[in-house]
C-alpha cells in the first residue's frame, strides 16, 4: 500500500496531506519542465543536424596561421580535445566496465557456495527481497517514464508557443494601453492647466509652502541658513559689482578731466605711505578693536 504523502504546515508540523492536489500540481509542473527539455533538445538537435548537412565540415587540415601564439595553440588543443576526447576515453571506460563485471562475477561465484549454507539463509532472504523491490521500483519508473514522455512532450509542444504568444500579446497590449492612457491623461491635464494657470500656481505655492513649513518645523536652522546665505551672497555680489564699477569709473572720470584740462594722462598713482597701506589691509573689526584698545590705554588709571 503506498504511503500517504505528508507536508509541513504553517506551524512547522508534519501532517498527512489531505488530498492529491499538491501532487497533481507537482506532476503538472514537472511534465511541463521535462517536456520542454525533451522538446527543446529534439528541436535543437534537428536544427543543428540540418545546419550541418547544409554546411559540411571542411575536409583535411585547416591552414594554420604562420604566427600562432601560445594562447591560440592552447585554445586549439582544448577544442580538439572536446571533439576527440570522448572517442579516446570510451575504449578504456568500456574495458574498465568489463573488468568490473568480471570481478563481480568472480566474487559472486566465490561467495555463492557460502551463501547457500543455512547459516546465511536470513541474510539471503533479505538480499533477495531487496533485489525484488529494487527491480519492481525500476520497472515502475520505466513504465511511468514511458507513459509520461510523450504526454509531457505533447504538453510542451502545445502549451509553450501558446504561453509565449499570450505573454507577448499581454505585454504589448498593456504597454500600448498604458502609454495611450498616460498620453491621454497628460494631454488632458496640460490642456486643463493651460486654461487654469492659477491652479498650477496655487499647486506650486502649496508645495512650496509645505516644504517651507517642513523646513521651519523640522529644520529651522537650515531654513535660516538658506535665507541668510542667499541674502548675504546677493548683497555681496551687488556690493562687489558696485565697488568694481566705481573703481573703474574713478580712473575713467579722472582721465576725461585731465584730458579736458590738457594735463598728461596719469601713468601711475603715487603709493600712499607704508603706514597707510598697512592700515588699509586691516578689517573693519580689527580697526575698531585697535581703536578700543587705544582708548583704554588713554584713560587715566
Amino acid at each position: 500500500m503506498p504511503k500517504q504523502p505528508k507536508y509541513i504546515d504553517a506551524e512547522y508540523n508534519i501532517v498527512p496531506q489531505k488530498d492529491s492536489e499538491a501532487n497533481e500540481t507537482y506532476e503538472s509542473v514537472m511534465r511541463l519542465l521535462v517536456g520542454s527539455l525533451l522538446f527543446g533538445s529534439e528541436e535543437l538537435l534537428k536544427r543543428t543536424r540540418a545546419w550541418e548537412q547544409e554546411n559540411p565540415p571542411p575536409d583535411g587540415a585547416a591552414a594554420s596561421d604562420a604566427e600562432e601564439s601560445d594562447l591560440v595553440l592552447l585554445r586549439h588543443l582544448i577544442v580538439g580535445a572536446v571533439f576527440l576526447g570522448p572517442e579516446l576515453i570510451s575504449h578504456p571506460l568500456i574495458a574498465l566496465a568489463e573488468t568490473a563485471d568480471r570481478a563481480v562475477g568472480l566474487a559472486g561465484s566465490l561467495i555463492s557456495p557460502f551463501m547457500r549454507l543455512p547459516l546465511f539463509k536470513p541474510a539471503r532472504g533479505l538480499w533477495e527481497g531487496y533485489q525484488d523491490r529494487l527491480a519492481a521500483m525500476v520497472d515502475e519508473f520505466i513504465e511511468k517514464g514511458r507513459k509520461e514522455e510523450p504526454y509531457s512532450k505533447a504538453m510542451a509542444r502545445d502549451l509553450l508557443p501558446e504561453i509565449a504568444s499570450d505573454t507577448a500579446m499581454a505585454a504589448s497590449e498593456h504597454v500600448d494601453g498604458i502609454q495611450a492612457l498616460v498620453r491621454d491623461q497628460v494631454s488632458k491635464y496640460l490642456a486643463y492647466v493651460e486654461e487654469h494657470p492659477e491652479e498650477m500656481e496655487a499647486l506650486v505655492q502649496t508645495i512650496g509652502d509645505r516644504y517651507l513649513e517642513y523646513l521651519k518645523e523640522e529644520n529651522p536652522e537650515a531654513l535660516q541658513a538658506i535665507i541668510q546665505g542667499q541674502s548675504l551672497s546677493l548683497a555681496g555680489e551687488v556690493t562687489d559689482e558696485l565697488r568694481s564699477r566705481t573703481v573703474t569709473a574713478d580712473s575713467v572720470v579722472e582721465m576725461f578731466v585731465r584730458s579736458l584740462l590738457r594735463r598728461p594722462a596719469r601713468q601711475e598713482l603715487p603709493l600712499p605711505p607704508p603706514e597707510v597701506l598697512e592700515q588699509a589691509r586691516l578689517s573693519t573689526k580689527e580697526v575698531i578693536r585697535r581703536r578700543n584698545v587705544e582708548r583704554k590705554h588713554e584713560q587715566p588709571e
Partner: protein, 210 residues
Amino acid sequence: MNSPNENDAFELRGQYAGFVSRTTAFLIDRGIIWSIIAIIMAVSTYLFNVVGLPIQTCTYSPTFGGVVCVVVQISLALFALSFAPLYNIIFWTLAAQTPGKYLLGLRIYRMNGERLTLKRATRRYLGYLLSFAAFGLGFFWITIDNRRQGFHDKFADTCVVYSWDAFQNQRLIDRLSVKLYRSRFFQNPEAFYAKGMTAEDAGERNAHVS
C-alpha cells in the same frame, strides 16, 4: 565683469580712492542722514500734534504753549543741522569710515597712517564746508590731485584709500586712454612736448590695444 587679477588687487588695495567712489559713498551717506532726519522730524511732528502742539504752524507767543513751540522748533532745527556733522565725525573717529564708505570699501587715514582723532575729524568736516564754499571745487580737486586729495583732505592732512581687494577694468581704461590722447598728440605733438608730456603720456604705451 572681469575677474580680478591678483596683482591688480594687491596693487589697488591701499591706493588712493578716486572721485566717483568717494562721491558715491558721500551720496549714500547723505541718503542715510536725510532719511534719519526726515523720520525723526515726521515722528516728532506727529507726536506734538497729538498732544495739541502743531509745531509746523505755531509761532512764538508769551504763553507756555508758544514758548514750548519755539523751543521744540529750535531743537529740531539744531538737530537737523548738527546730525550730519555728528554722523560723519563720530564714524570717522570710531571706524575710520562711514556706512557709505564701508559699502564702497573706503577708509580715511591721516597721512602718517594713524586714524582720525575727534579734533582732526572736526577739522576735516570744516574742510568739507570749505570745499562746498569754493563752489564744489574742493571736491573736484580729487580728480586733479596726484594723491586724490580734496581741499578737506589737505586741510586735515588725511587721505581716503581702498580697503578691499580693488580691481578695475584695465582694458577699458587702456582703450579710452588711447582714444583721448593719441589723436590729439599726433595733431599737435609740439603742444604736448611744451607741457612736458611725452608720447608715452599720449597713449603710445597703449597703442597695441587699438
